[in-house]
Amino acid sequence: MVGIRRGVVGKASYSLFALARNALSYHEDWREAWRSPEPKKHYKVIIVGGGGHGLATAYYLARVHGIRDIAVLEKGWIGGGNTGRNTTIIRSGYLWDESIALYEHALKLWETMSQELNFNVMFSQRGVINLSHSVHEMREMRRRYEAVRLNGVDIEMLSPSEIKKMVPIINIDPNIRYPVMGGILQRRAGTARHDAVAWGYARGADDMGVDIIQNCEVTGFRRKADGAIEGVETNRGFIGADKVGCVPAGHSAVLAEMAGFKLPIQARPLQAMVSEPVKPCIDTVVMSNAVHMYISQSDKGELVLGAGTDSYNSYAQRGSFNIAEHLMAATVELYPITSRLRMLRSWGGIVDTCPDASPILSKTPVPGLYFNCGWGTGGFKATPGSGHVFADLIANDRPNAIAAPFALDRFRTGYLVDEHGAAGVAH
């Protein structure tokens, strides 16, 4: 899109020509992708949390709603939380209409993101396959398949031999402990370069005048006499704001308690790991609930493996070893050729999980304070959609049709969007 390139600051557009031109000056003339400004005294909107969702929220507030007096406050470095710790899977094949609408909204935005941001986020629509290993799972899978299909979203059912064609390294021997009985495939689904999403949104938002302030930790909320939000206390002083949107992922409960209320959220460890890089051997993303593992191969050649969450609360960004151990056994079981490849690096994130495995996009008991959290294991794929509808919620002070089902009130009324089946494995 041309629009944002005429932004407040105005930066050179990225392209092959720009690379060639800059090569002549030894790449010494590239400008910073985003500024590092000092915080102002007051902003119209403050976004707490400089991950993908927070940066996307700021970007769309500026881009769609014309609000440019925005600060994004990040306690560490942008994209340093779950944005940089996930396994980069993007899909919209959920179970309930409400979820499909939300994630499909995101998927559509992914499809144009690189061009819109003029930043290659390497959204690779290589397809995502979900496997079924029992009669019961096949039944549940069919239900999800039909729900997705009738929402007008692309989805296909695959037989084991069709899966084998797409994923030659998979073991479809019917006599293994968890035989592959079938799968569903979403071809438009895939992966993206996770860090690039944060950077791309940061650059785009910055271009429109948004202040991205790193190493700025929120330590409290200040409220006016009428109870409405007045601003945030930070390690760099008080910063006033008309509205505050919190997008703190794993730390949502901590921030909510600062603001004086509780959220139905628990923070749990989630682990992932990559192998050493090898030449391409799997071109699709494949997930399996029953054996608790999912796999894809990065462009660099690393096999990216994801596990299930631990069951206990933790902010340690590390999980228990037995989870990793099981993941690797499952990897060898389903993909026997991986046995001699080596695990290179493992890491953990903090996932904020709701009782119904669906997110919270909501107003709160504090007027002018909004929360976007509870994405559990599904946050990365939602990034643009989450930012887009959350910006809308903040700008209009009411949820749009996509966000409405994800309000906090559902825990009072009982109208949950129970995605445990669809999100049964972390992904």
Partner: protein, 104 residues
Amino acid sequence: MQQIPCPWCGPRDDWEFHYGAEAHVARPETPSDKSDEDWMGYLYLRSNTKGPFRERWMHAAGCRRWFNVIRNTVSHEVFAVYKIGETPPPLPGEAPAAPDTTER
């Protein structure tokens, strides 16, 4: 891999346990008196403390007893273990609480 000290069986790997989240959340005695708001609180709202946290564990692979632990959710340091019904020890840096007779 954390070690959770079962008050009976001793320290065991964390996977031997079933996790019960925040401790001292009693089921209301007369639920029918409770508002929808209150019931939401009982069903879903649990503290999610970053730092020393009173929480419940059950030794699923062993004696199957529930008990309480004070554990730092950041460092995973375990400060105290106490049985159901016992007075909760103070959190690190906190003054001892008066004996609690209402909560189980």
